[in-house]
Assembly symmetry: C7
């Protein structure tokens, strides 16, 4: 069995829905379009959430890696 | 199809409107004029926002990369 | 006796239950699926906890290493 | 047309008025006298502001780069 | 007399009781089982404390070095 | 005219009075005795201030560079 | 006259009393036993202080350098 690595989760989630939690209690949900080794993420059709509700539609958004808390494929 | 990278979003947004969320609940909206690998950004015709309302007109502003939470092209 | 190293705890916990405390009072519990040298972790069948109660089921989640406070095998 | 870079804003603002926002809600206004690659800044005839009002006259002040949120030429 | 170095405290505390204070007001007490140069620590028979009282038994726990405030051998 | 650099301010302030603002709303006033490239500072005859009033006399104090917000020669 | 450097303060304070202020409003007082280039400090006969009063006797304690705000020889 091949060794699994954390970034495989990002690779497998490309073009799929993800929930991203950022520092400072910000959450973004949308389609993962790209990522890099710093965990910078591009999410398309993105919505910013507050308490699980849509707070704002962001369209395409670049999330800075060092503000990421977690990324969860939907 | 060419591989997409997160910074492509910044490149494609040059001379266009962006919404930038910074740490500490600061938001800036304006025209992206330049950026570098540290995600330092220059925004022109910039406005600082509070709860989505214009708080202050900043004109040209240099935003330090390590305070960026996200950048969203308008 | 062989020298013990902190990451041995992660290696021994693979495919077992772990409790992960993150900065900002976030807790995640689930099965440790992978990790890397930055302490990035993938947890499967993950639940986000609040005061020890399930707040949200996350399924698979990638936790960014620099937000980790501690990891405890169940 | 020459490529623009974020630090050009600092270079062009030398000997001119700038508004600097620092982490922790500190604002300083004055004349930009020098800067370096870490975004350390020297501001002369500087005033520390609170809610847009002068809180304290600082004269010459060295601002540490990693506390800078943004710099805006007046 | 040999020169003393800070990490000697950790080396001397191996297999002994330690109190570890982490950022965010978290305290853990238990037996120091291992550490590395990043000050990542493994504590066994660990208890998380709140105001000096046991809040939760953690068993074995890996504490991430950059969240450590202090380590005190019991 | 020679190029000015931010650290010149520290060099010129040696043996003179400085006001240092640190993260977490701590202020120290006294005579700058030494500094290094990390902006670690030694202040002698130092007083810690709270709301501009002397809170505590510290005598000689070593201030860690990465907690510095600004340094202003008196 | 020899050039003074910030770490000289630590060297001169070895085996003497110091007051150490850490981030998060923690203060420790005791005898400085060792330090390294990261400003990791070992303090012996250490007491943790709250509002200038002894909160807890720590005995020997290793303080992580990046949590240090200042060190003041008594």
């Amino acid at each position: 069995m091949a060794e699994k690595r954390p970034f495989d989760v990002l690779n497998n989630a490309l073009n799929s829905n993800v929930l991203v939690r950022l520092k400072g209690n910000v959450e973004v949900r949308g389609t993962l379009a790209s990522f890099d080794v710093h965990m910078n993420l591009v999410v398309e059709n993105a919505e910013e959430l507050e308490n699980g509700e849509t707070k704002r539609k962001l369209g395409t958004v670049l999330l800075r890696g060092d503000t990421v808390v977690y990324v969860s494929p939907a």
